[in-house]
Symmetry: C2
Subunit: 144 residues, 2 copies
DNA sequence: ATAGTTTCTGTAGTGGCTACAGATTCAAGA
DNA sequence: TCTTGAATCTGTAGCCACTACAGAAACTAT
């Protein structure tokens, strides 16, 4: 909205605030080569332009979607190299979506096991707990 | 089942095999104090007994349920201190279950966003991708 | 001039392992 | 007994994606 915050010469602090990415993280991204080294003032302070601000926001959105920095690197290299196709992007998105869904299934299994445990456990204030017993004696092991 | 594998003097390798926890991880658990330092042979090789084997299996099961080592440490200190109550255990299990469920919700939101992205993307083999556009131009930002 | 904020570089810590390197020790066969 | 190969030992460094410092320099405002 405000024209001021969309200035063309951003300090790292301004960029941080605008993008929601912490200063240290921005420098980290530069160090690992996922953000390009920006121009510098005579003093050595970094200055960023619109281009870089967009790139950083792209990275942040991808991170929020759970993409790894390696995946993001690949995505960005497609863009940078101009070899970007829907096919390539789709493959990455699809693979990532599949792994997210797998993780959901894992966690759902976990959650129901934990609920079952908690249900057993809630009953008493006695100094012996069936949950601990189960975990110690191998509740998941049919041979016991 | 076999009496042999349930021997009383386990080498670290035997313990590893029995518990399904890698040798390096067992040593790591010892280093961080979640497993007690075992007896040693004259040569310095570690020897474990039933007690420790049970403890390690307990830890492994807890890890499979997604408990952090800190949570496990707390659980174990309740057991070790004899202060174990259903209440205390229940609190830990319940808190953990809640955070698992929260993570599930997060991931479900992610998954549907990713699906929506993939759906847009699957269409063409052209060198411009709507997904990349969205991510670059701030699809989630209503002010754009 | 001075105070307070921002930025700079470099390094180390987080969790939960995992992977080495290089030295010893063990177990089994000839 | 000797030898070979497997197991174990210690210690350190790497993984991911940051985060948190320390100490110095440079900005901004009064």
């Amino acid at each position: 909205m405000s024209a001021i915050t969309k200035s063309n010469n951003l300090s790292i602090g301004a960029l941080s605030e605008e993008s929601g990415v912490k200063i240290e993280t921005i420098r980290y991204y530069e160090r690992i080569g996922i953000m390009p080294a920006p121009a510098r003032r005579a003093s050595g302070h970094r200055i960023y332009g619109r281009e870089q601000a967009k790139r950083l926001s792209f990275i942040r959105r991808c991170r929020e979607l759970g993409f790894s920095l390696e995946e993001i690197r690949t995505l960005l290299s497609l863009v940078d190299g101009g070899e970007q196709t829907c096919m390539g992007v789709h493959a990455i998105v699809h693979t990532h979506a599949a792994s997210v869904k797998e993780k959901i299934r894992d966690l759902q299994r976990l959650a129901s096991t934990l609920d079952a445990m908690a249900a057993k456990c809630a009953q008493g204030e006695v100094p012996y707990c069936p949950v601990i017993e189960d975990l110690f004696d191998g509740a998941n092991n049919p041979s016991n």
